[in-house]
């Protein structure tokens, strides 16, 4: 039967699982920081539209959630070591 060998053995071996976990770590944290940056970014633009002096602060606050995806990247690298 076609596909019998797939049912018999595990679909993913250890290397596959590792790759998938690393992908998950990056994807989820990437989505999370994207969402957070979107919220903060629109808010920062709102404040900047009224007061241009807030550009520096807005920029810094907007990129802070970037740390989330960096943690994801670190975890992904650790998994693959």
């Amino acid at each position: 039967m076609v596909g019998e060998e797939l049912i018999a053995g595990p679909v993913l071996d250890a290397a596959g699982m590792k790759a998938l976990s690393a992908a998950l770590a990056i994807t989820v944290t990437g989505l999370a920081s994207a969402w957070a940056e979107k919220e903060i970014g629109t808010a920062a633009i709102g404040a900047m539209a009224e007061n241009e002096g807030l550009f520096g602060k807005g920029l810094i606050l907007t990129v802070i959630p970037e740390t989330i995806v960096i943690f994801g990247l670190v975890v992904a690298l650790l998994i693959n070591q």
């Binding site: 920062a44 009224e50 007061n51």
Partner: protein, 361 residues
Amino acid sequence: MRLLEKFWGGKKSSRTSDKKKKGTSNYAYAVTRVRAMKSKLVPKETYPRLLNMGIDEITRFIQESEYKNDIDELAMKYSGADLAEHALNRNLALTYEKLLRITAGELNYLITEYLRRYDVWNIKTLLRGKQYNASVEEILESLISAGEFTYTFLSELAGTESYQDIIEALKETEYYPILQEYDGNNLADIENEMDKMYYSSLFEAIGKPRSKDRKLFARFVKLEVDVKNLSTLFRLKRAGVEQLDEILPLMIEGGLALNTEKLAALPYEDFVEELRKTEYWDALSGVYSPEMKSLNALESKLKKYSLESATTYSHVSPISIVPIMDYIIYKHNEVSNLRMIVRGKEAGLADTLIKDQLVVI
């Protein structure tokens, strides 16, 4: 939590009664922008300085602040206190228009509903003006085109011959059924009915609040109703009106903590006694005395209380409609303060008298 709510939005919306959610609202953007706008309002330290200035100096001061464009554009047509007043009204209308421009979806819908109060205000002004034969100029001074009616439309109405023409022109609006009742003498009743209609349609727009920010918004509007009812009651009670059938039609329904029916039935002393049990007494106790001559101090205390509560609410729910409402009433307060100073100075009132009228936070 908000994220989860957004993902489940489709499924949840059928269960909640927060009606008319059209599209998504850009809360984060609108709220921060409005907060930045609030930081540009005239600070309270400025008012004593303004009181020491003459009208031209005040106009100059206004011109150097957020009202620059308005003064510049109107300076050709008006001068003195009229210039300041027109500029203030124009700026208020434009500011509210801007709020509508920068918001979307549910937020926009609720603000539009809230700002209908200016339509009511304008219709009242027009009818009052016609009843007392005010000149077109005088009527134009008091119009604030922050609602749905544009300034051009309103000034056309102000230029009409009689109140019948105005009512005829408003045939398509939802106010027409009430306005039809107007026969030239019952202006007070019509005004009352319009206020009531405004609040009942606002409550309808809010719906039965489920989410936290809607609840706070509803609370905010209810508090406003209470404050209105309370100052009406104070005036009536002081004037010695005690018949229930005279008082109750003047009360707006849907208040927060006041039992208007119970309060309306009491004579003045008992009424004040009963008020001591409510949350409003903290605000009033400082200025209330049985022999006070005018209610001005009391009313400005009440206004101050509602402004302060709005700020508190806006801290409870920072990313919601409440901070925007907070700004709306603060802006209105600023304009009315500046207007009082300008008009007070023009009429030659004493500084202390003007100062008592100001609501400064």
